[in-house]
């Protein structure tokens, strides 16, 4: 019976010790850096403080370096761009302050700065383009990319008039913008690439998405939910090729995070420290790609 109780107690101990989120500590973390009276300030104390201040940034920087090593091989062009960037920065800092600057930033020499900072930055910038190139079909679906022409006015009567003329083939949207230039706003009537993040009202966007054939004019004219703006819209293309959409996609505020999260998932990024996990989650939630 005593043995049985011992087994149960041990099992409970194991249970309780394993039921916390993991945090990390140093191999020699209990070594004191300073002892004041009876109080030891250990390496682990300082590690915890440093981790909460800059841990997330340092880890993301490491991840970036890993991913660009896998995905973006260095080219002569990139090296030149990195050298130019570094030189420009060096000119700003000043030749006489350069060595001190490098030391303060933790770099042994200029070469290390070039490779670990300037070149990394150039290579990281290529990641998003690579992601877009390789995942365009999925991006097209997520961001609902369409090529459209839009005539916008605050006058519903003019919108109705233009709608009729465009539908009858009397005017193109571009011509309408030129003809009614005194009353049009925002859009210039030229072909442009829009996404579901472009700011058109959701009901208008739903109508655009309902179009399945190129060169379709939406009927009737569209209007904003507060009835302050009226639109005549032609969907020029429902399947926009990458080369036409590239710059629009690159301009999306979320695309670089999408790209980084994609590569983090691809390379199975896993974090094993709850402080860093929470830090990354609060700063860049999409970077957490593991099941906790």
């Amino acid at each position: 019976m005593k043995k049985l109780l011992t087994v149960c107690a041990f099992a409970l101990l194991v249970t309780l010790s394993g039921c916390k989120d993991a945090t990390t500590s140093l191999s020699d973390g209990n070594d004191a850096l300073i002892t004041v009276g009876n109080t030891k300030i250990t390496k682990n104390d300082v590690y915890t403080g440093l981790k909460s201040e800059n841990g997330v940034t340092a880890v993301i920087s490491k991840l970036t370096a890993y991913i660009v090593d896998q995905e973006v091989p260095v080219t002569d062009e990139m090296m030149s761009e990195a050298q130019e960037t570094m030189q420009s920065f060096k000119d700003t800092v000043g030749e006489s302050n350069w060595a001190t600057f490098l030391a303060n930033m933790g770099y042994d020499d200029e070469q290390q700065y070039l490779e670990e900072r300037a070149l990394l930055s150039v290579r990281a910038a290529q990641l998003t383009s690579k992601y877009i190139n390789e995942n365009y079909d999925q991006i097209k679906e997520t961001y609902q990319i369409r090529k459209v022409r839009i005539f916008q006015t605050t006058d519903s009567a003019i919108a109705a008039e233009v709608q009729e003329k465009v539908q009858n083939g009397e005017l193109t949207i571009q011509d309408a913008v030129n003809q009614y230039d005194a009353v049009t706003t925002t859009y210039d009537g030229s072909e442009q690439i829009l996404t579901n993040a472009s700011g058109l009202g959701s009901s208008i966007w739903e109508n655009i998405m309902a179009v399945t054939e190129d060169n379709t004019v939406l009927t009737p004219y569209q209007y904003s939910s507060d009835l302050s703006n009226f639109y005549v819209i032609e969907v020029v293309s429902v399947d926009v090729p990458l080369e036409e959409a590239q710059s629009t996609i690159e301009g999306l505020s979320t695309i670089s995070d999408d790209a980084f999260a994609y590569y983090l998932k691809k390379y199975n990024f896993t974090v094993y420290d709850i402080d860093l996990y929470n830090g990354i989650k609060s700063q860049k939630a999409s970077y957490i790609v593991q099941d906790k």
């Binding site: 099992a11 993991a22 140093l26 973390g29 300073i34 403080g49 991913i67 094993y272």
Partner: protein
């Protein structure tokens, strides 16, 4: 064996149920918890692909140069050092307990609904959660006491140079606001005249201030408290107040706010040092005149408690951070 188990079937049953319960509890409590990882006995912070990032490496990278006063590691280490010194050097008495409790309650009330902002501020001060608010104020008041006690102990030496160079004094004033100096209104002129008459009639300056002054200090008899040559008053006012003799009301002094009558109520060194109401101002003047003094006080308190450094780099970096490296 089987016979024994059969004989004790009830105990076996209870044991089986217990083990099952513990097993389920283990599963349930660990569900949703972040797992850790060790490789060769070292904690892994994160992994990507086939690469592990170790806590040991992250520490070295984040710490920076161990021997540099400006490295991130030295700064964090100093904050722990300062806390350890203050914590050990000063104990919390009942008065401080009340101060801490009041401050915690007050801050919690002020930040109700804005806890995220409060947390950010606490984190910037080196604390990790809202539960650390009490620890923050405990440290704050202990630090105040450590520094205050040190200043009080050497007040004569610390204050004398300020007294000689910066003409410290206690001043009061009466302000009559003037909206347009080129067109003083009848009401403004009447107030100026009334102040002149009251003072000429020998009425108490503080009472006249209470009755006529347009400044927020009126309710306190016009008292502005401590000032010296470094006080941030408008220049016309400051010059007149520093030139005034104790007990003599000045002529009207024109500033951008209006006309002021100024009365210097104290200039005596001993009286200033003994005036509790201006103690914080005197301490602020001392701190401003001696930028490294507080660090030195912390260092000396540490020395009394006994300080050991892991190595010379850490010692030199901390001393350099405190600005005391040449005094050893």
């Amino acid at each position: 064996m089987i016979e024994k188990l059969k004989e004790n079937w009830f105990v076996v049953l209870v044991a089986a149920i217990l083990i099952a319960a513990v097993g389920y509890y283990t599963y349930d409590t660990n569900k949703g918890k972040l797992p850790g990882k060790k490789v060769d006995g070292k904690d892994v912070v994160a992994s990507i692909g086939d690469t592990n990032y170790f806590a040991d490496d992250l520490y070295l990278e984040l710490y920076g140069d161990e021997s540099s006063a400006s490295s991130a590691g030295t700064q964090v280490l100093f904050s722990y050092f300062e806390r350890a010194v203050v914590d050990a050097a000063i104990s919390v008495d009942d008065e401080m307990k009340t101060q801490i409790a009041t401050a915690v309650t007050s801050v919690k009330q002020s930040y109700a609904g804005q806890e995220a902002t409060l947390l950010t501020q606490l984190q910037a001060a080196g604390y990790s959660s809202l539960d650390d608010l009490e620890a923050y104020f405990t440290h704050y008041y202990k630090m105040q006491k450590l520094i205050g006690d040190a200043y009080a102990e050497d007040l004569e030496n610390l204050f004398t140079p300020i007294y000689e160079e910066k003409k410290p004094r206690v001043v009061s004033h009466i302000l009559v606001k003037i909206s347009d100096f080129d067109n003083i209104t009848e009401e403004e002129q009447a107030k100026l005249d009334a102040v002149d008459k009251a003072l000429a009639d020998g009425e108490d300056f503080a009472e006249v201030a209470k009755e006529y002054s347009d400044d927020g200090s009126a309710s306190d008899g016009g008292n502005l408290g401590y000032m010296d040559a470094d006080t941030n008053f408008v220049s016309e006012f400051k010059e007149a107040a520093l030139a005034a003799e104790k007990g003599v009301v000045t002529d009207w002094i024109r500033t951008e706010y209006g006309y002021h009558k100024i009365l210097v109520t104290e200039t005596d060194k001993e009286a200033l040092m003994n005036d509790e109401s201006i103690r914080d101002d005197i301490y602020a003047a001392i701190e401003s005149a001696n930028p490294d003094l507080n660090a030195q006080i912390i260092w000396e308190a540490g020395q009394k408690l006994g300080v050991e450094f892991a190595n010379e780099n850490v010692e030199n970096a901390i001393k350099s951070y405190l600005g005391i490296e040449d005094e050893e």
